[in-house]
């Protein structure tokens, strides 16, 4: 059973929305990295524009363009992943409640605060009564959604919309400053690969994919494998598991992987685990990274997958993604590898189709 990615769209802190190519020039951010937003008037009514929070808007617009690209809104499932869900609405209701000591409150932000508001909104817009699930598990929220989509294709479903969405708010950014999650400002997103200290860049985004059982003229790639491991902390054990699963699930060996896209985020400790794997398991492959585009957030791997779709379709890796000089001529198989402090490792394998 083959699984194809037939549409892929992303709104991010870079110029990525409705783009076929990766940007040559990147936008530089010294602090928080927030999305470059399209004109939402093209997507929503005046009432919606007033009521909906930023994340609902950039999630829905991305999903809608992904559906347009796929050429069908007859979806057999809508599956989303989001680490923190509708943060802005959650904070608004929470703050109002605390400020007024549980005084008179309005329900809009409460009802929009649930994680599955995003997937529910797409179902509502497209009149889709099918399977609709939202995963919320830290940095593997999106991968859980993608894995579920693969199961559904194997169960006989045809078109599944899968997305990864998270937003960063000023308040949450300041909160997480206290636990030293971020780089001290100013620190440019363009410098994360060579960073020598702790912390990462706060980012956000939405990336949606139409995952399908049928190949079309527009198919970006075949999705060969989605694997997550919670706590496989020993690098040689992790490598062994990955090699075995790659063989048993795809028939491929390590050497078949041409390009590895790593989730380097600028935090030296977390990044050291990528280096270990990069310099041992994948020394013969081309290497790249992507979080200088989007920053770090729970579902940043979904943006990594969007980057991978562009690379594999165009058979081209821009210099701003590459870590060192190319060793391989063609890019037939890509591995996207993400983790956070040596936990919640995820491996997504894409093949040219």
């Amino acid at each position: 059973m083959s699984i194809f990615i037939n549409a892929a769209q992303a709104i991010s802190p870079q110029q990525t929305f409705l783009k076929d190519q990766l940007p040559g020039e990147l936008v530089k951010y010294d602090g928080i990295m927030q999305c470059i937003l399209p004109d939402f008037k093209n997507y929503f009514s005046a009432i919606e524009l007033r009521r909906m929070s930023r994340i609902i808007k950039f999630s829905s617009a991305t999903a809608q363009e992904c559906i347009n690209e796929a050429g069908t809104n007859k979806m057999d499932a809508i599956i989303t992943g989001t680490g923190l869900g509708c943060l802005e609405d959650t904070e608004k209701f929470l703050n109002k409640m605390l400020d007024t000591d549980e005084g008179l409150l309005t329900p809009t932000t409460f009802i929009q605060s649930t994680h599955n508001t995003l997937g529910g909104k797409i179902a509502l817009t497209n009149n889709c009564n099918e399977y609709n699930i939202t995963y919320a598990h830290k940095t593997v929220s999106f991968e859980s959604a993608l894995l579920d989509a693969s199961l559904l294709i194997k169960e006989g479903e045809k078109n599944i919309l899968v997305g990864g969405i998270d937003e960063i708010t000023e308040e949450n950014y300041n909160l997480r400053k206290h636990i030293n999650q971020w780089k001290e400002e100013p620190f440019s997103n363009l410098d994360i690969y060579n960073s020598k200290n702790s912390g990462c860049k706060a980012g956000e985004g939405a990336a949606y994919f139409m995952v399908s059982s049928n190949k079309t003229d527009n198919s970006y790639a075949e999705l060969k494998m989605t694997d997550i491991y919670y706590k496989l902390k020993n690098p040689s054990l992790l490598a062994e598991n990955f090699k075995n699963n790659l063989k048993s699930k795809t028939g491929m060996s390590l050497n078949d992987i041409d390009f590895v896209l790593f989730g380097f985020n600028g935090d030296v400790k977390s990044d050291s685990y990528y280096h270990q794997i990069k310099d041992t398991l994948f020394k013969d492959q081309d290497h790249g990274y992507f979080k200088h585009y989007c920053g770090e957030y729970d579902t940043s791997a979904s943006f990594g997958l969007w980057v991978a779709t562009r690379i594999i379709k165009n058979n081209y890796i821009p210099d701003n993604i590459l870590i060192e000089k190319r060793k391989r001529k063609n890019i037939n198989n890509i591995l996207l590898f993400n983790q956070e402090n040596n936990e919640n490792h995820s491996f997504i394998v894409l093949s040219k189709c």
Binding site: I78, G83, L84, G85, F93, L94, N95, M97, L98, D101, E102, L105, T106, P107, F110, I111, Q112, S113, T114, H115, N116, T117, G119, G120, K121, A123, L124, N126, N127, C128, N129, E130, Y131, N132, I133, T134, Y135, A136, H137, K138, V140, S141, S144, D148, L151, K154, E155, L175, R176, H178, I179, I228, Y229, Y230, K231, L232, D298, N344
Partner: protein
């Protein structure tokens, strides 16, 4: 050929009991757990009734032999209590060779801590990490020492049911041999005030499916079950088999079900199809039955449509526990399995008069020797989410 999936362990904590046995005893003795709030401090202390568990976080920590200094939210503690019981009930030991996953659903994760510390950062920064939904699941996995596959989902009030469904599917696909799955939520001021602004709270004990129902009582708790594939649980107690499941979206409104109850109807229909059972094979339905005007009438219409006016005995157990949100689907799955195990139907408390638009009434007394073969459990939530699970006697 798909693997068959069996329930081999259960654990639960709710307002009607701190373990499986206490919950069962309360159910058959019609002992509800709805009361004024003692543990949660809120300005609504005296006006709202809830299904609160009368144990403080420190009480819960002691039961788990965890240190008092910790980062655990109440939601997390409740789920570990239930998971520990389920793990032991299934006779499991850490680090056996079975590929084991932990999947937990919750609506607001560590909100009970966030709302205490959000504006008082200098006092406590620990809550920042415990706020997200995944934190709880990881702590369950860590406590049980399971490190293979861990994920969480958050689909409002069907979260617990959806975690069970995912666990079953991962076993059927051969990805896992065993899944420790369920849902958890603690009462928080956030959800309490949220439901209050929507005028969905009954100031009195709720009366699901009653003509004069006024809304729901919030509850809290956790339900965790152990699912195992047939081959690895041949020689142990198997409570029941999970034979059907489906999730559908009503695609009508963020918080209200459509007048024709399309979503609820579809998930019952699709779960039946999955189980290859006919509507008349269902012996009992543990309905979502929150006691809100909108839920009960629409769920009732969907029941009449799917069962073509010969609706099997049904009841909502929410008048016992309150609506435990992310835990509800899992807690009620456990009640459904207990129904099969004991061949019994649990009553729907506080019911007096049928809803005029419907021609159905819930079971109001304990029905023993009920001939239970297959039980259906419904869970519906915000965002149009709806899930039906079907458990069958082996």
């Amino acid at each position: 050929m798909e693997n068959r999936v069996f329930v081999t362990g259960m654990g639960i904590i709710s307002a009607i009991g701190n373990n499986l046995e206490e919950n069962f005893d309360s159910l058959i003795n019609k002992q509800h757990g709805i009361s004024k709030l003692d543990i949660l401090k809120t300005v609504h202390q005296d006006e709202l009734l809830c299904g609160e568990i009368k144990l403080t976080n420190n009480d819960l920590l002691k039961r788990l032999d965890l240190p008092e200094s910790n980062t655990y939210a109440r939601t997390t503690l409740l789920s570990i209590i239930a998971a520990k019981e389920a793990f032991n009930d299934a006779g499991l030991k850490s680090k056996d060779s079975a590929r084991t996953g932990v999947i937990v659903g919750t609506t607001v994760g560590g909100m009970d801590k966030s709302e205490r510390f959000y504006k008082r950062l200098d006092e406590n920064t620990d809550f920042i990490q415990s706020h997200n939904c995944g934190f709880t699941t990881e702590k369950v996995a860590d406590y049980l020492d399971v490190n293979h596959f861990v994920t969480s989902l958050s689909t409002a009030c069907s979260s617990g049911a959806n975690a069970i469904m995912l666990g079953a599917r991962l076993i059927k696909h051969g990805i896992l041999d065993r899944a420790i799955v369920g849902g958890t939520d603690a009462i928080s001021k956030f959800t309490l005030n949220g439901f209050k602004t929507l005028f969905l709270l009954d100031p009195n004990p709720c009366s699901p499916f009653d003509k004069d129902r006024k809304g729901l009582n919030l509850g809290e708790g956790a339900g965790i079950i152990v699912l195992e594939k047939g081959e690895i649980c041949k020689n142990k107690k198997r409570y029941s088999e999970i034979t059907g499941y489906a999730n559908n979206n009503d695609a009508y409104h963020q918080t209200a079900t459509s007048p024709d109850a399309k979503g609820p109807y579809l998930c019952m229909k699709n779960a039946l199809e999955k189980s290859k059972l006919k509507p008349q094979d269902i012996s009992y339905v543990n309905v979502h039955g929150t006691g809100t005007d909108n839920n009960d009438i629409t769920e009732g219409l969907a029941l009449e449509k799917i069962f073509e006016n010969t609706v099997p005995p049904f009841s909502s157990t929410k008048a016992y526990t309150g609506h435990t949100l992310g835990a509800a689907g899992a807690i009620e799955a456990i009640y459904s399995i207990l129904s099969i195990e004991n061949n019994i139907i649990f009553p729907n408390l506080n019911f007096k008069q049928a809803i005029p638009e419907l021609s159905l009434s819930p079971a109001t007394v304990v029905i023993e020797n009920a001939g239970i073969e297959n039980v259906m459990s419904n869970s519906f939530g915000f965002g149009g989410n709806g899930t039906t699970l079907i458990f069958s006697k082996e």
